[in-house]
Amino acid sequence: MSGGDPGTEAGTGTGAGTGARDGGVSGTEAGADAGAGPDTGAGPDTGAGPDTGAGPGADLGLDAHLVVDRGDFRLDVRLSVAPGEVLALLGPNGAGKTTSLRALAGLTGLTQGHLRLDGQVLEQPERRVRIAPERRPVGVIFQDYLLFPHLSALDNVAFGPRCHGAGRSEARALAADLLDRMGLAAHAHAKPRRLSGGQAQRVALARALATAPRLLLLDEPLAALDAGARLDVRAELRRHLAAFEAVAVLVTHDPLDAMVLADRLVVVENGTVVQQGTPVEIARHPRTDYIARLVGLNLYRGEAEGHQVRVGPEFVLTGSEELAGPAFVAFPPSAVTLHRDRPESSARNAWRARITGMESHGAQFRIALAGAEDGLPLAADLTAPAVAELDLREGTEVWASVKAAQTHAYPA
């Protein structure tokens, strides 16, 4: 899918997260400073004593251990997100991403674990605590937005404030202001079906932000858009998320979305966290096949001894790093060279493989290979002339080689 260069995208992504935070988008100030509340006015009489609940630092943000048991599927995920941080839950379909999001919103109950937001316990089955979804300071942007079809964009955005007790005109003024900031003033009175995908997404964002949530949840925020609209909307969404001062958690199966939008990724597979870190770390050091494929790397696991990593009973890859113990070896498909005959170059890693699939990506070919004999399966990128010269087609047996300097080994 992405393949491209996650490194650079990720770099800009992390930069934006810490950048301009002028609170531009948060509509009302209600609840925005819950942490600072308790100690106002209590100052004089407590004097020097350590004031209770005053320390906003430790408690702010999201602290969750989500356990949802559904017979054949068990979700067990720990999340900790600071205010202002954007976290992406990345994983294949059915990994439990959407269940996590629903659990955070309170739409699916926890079986065990806990959910705390800014120090307030929202849910803890052990203590029989469960705050209903409508009483959580949470805003959700659903995958297909779920804008109320019978209400105008303005009334969709005003819906939340109205439910929180604002008067009709007050709520509408707030909604109009939010839509204006999203550049949607001209569409305020349009019904959702008259809006384009990108506009609908901005209305959904405005609607979710209108209640000044302390936790913003986004479910596949770009999945409903066509490729053309995606680029613009992604960039715009990133600006809005960067300006959001509370916790944001987004769920996606698209690594590019995750890397552009999020400061930190949590990769979920089969209901558990398999890896987490900044986009750069994850792109450099994938720890599962799924992530390696997402970021476009060949990945193998084995036992390292010096420069050598034994990845199969009879197979040893030579890397540039010195390691000991369990280790991963990764290299990009562009580092692979294919040969008709056994290569006699300086490449130390060479093995026989058979072509199982070929796909063209512009001027390049992505070639999937299955290892022959003891060889490793891998993906290789070749230019069109190279493919023609070697007369490659499905079923062709070739030699694959990778230079040691182009592999990257790291502890497992």
């Binding site: 979804p133 779920l146 109320f148 019978h150 209400l151 819906f159 439910c163 209640t211």
Partner: protein, 286 residues
Amino acid sequence: MIPALKNADVEPPGPRARARRPRGRGGAVPLPLLLPAVVGLAFLLVPLLALLIRAPWRGMPDLLTSSAVWQALRLSLETATSATAVALVLGVPLAWLLARTRFPGRRIVRALVTLPLVLPPVVGGVALLLALGRNGVVGKWLDSWFGITLPFTTAGVVVAEAFVAMPFLVISVEGTLRAADSRYEEAAATLGASRFTAFRRVTLPMIAPGVAAGAVLAWARALGEFGATITFAGSFPGRTQTMPLSVYLALQDDPDAAVALSLVLLAVSITVLAGLRDRWTGAGAV
């Protein structure tokens, strides 16, 4: 073929019928289908035609301007509308309960709700008498505590009609609710709406066409209600004698009047159906 299709279209059991509107495929219609279809169409239309052919058109103005007819018609419209209102107020929440919540015995409750659909209306009338009659299970207390008696009153007509008509509304609305995406209610909850607010401000407007369809069905059923009404409320002119009752009674001694009254009922039914259908197709382009 076209009139047959139209006919199928007019029967309005909610939006599902709109979704699978029949579409011709072209080509010849097979005889084994065409023949019964034409006979069926004739079977439905000939009686209505007969009504028009045998109508005493010359005496019509006199018949229709008689105060007895107006009295019965007004009573019918008022009671059918009141019964529909009762069915809406009680039936929509009941439909919501059946469609959106889980409770033990829900399937049994659902079956019981549909029972009046297949129950002979006369039996319904008898049951109402036993429940709400002056000596009935509940009626006894209504009488001694509040001084309310329902049988043989106009209110009794409304009760009998609502009893027979409400299941139509409940079934229609429940079907619409099941087809409606309940995730909109979840979206409303994340915006701070209680379940009731979500129902009132999101679900209800979204299922409005289904509610309207159910209300029309219930209203039509109430307008034509005969058995339960005559059993529970009797036939007192001006108080409980609705149009169907006066048609039946007129048939004994003044057949011309019966035909005229029938034509009025037919006209009212067609007018309401046509009027509401246009509105649905207008709103149906969601």
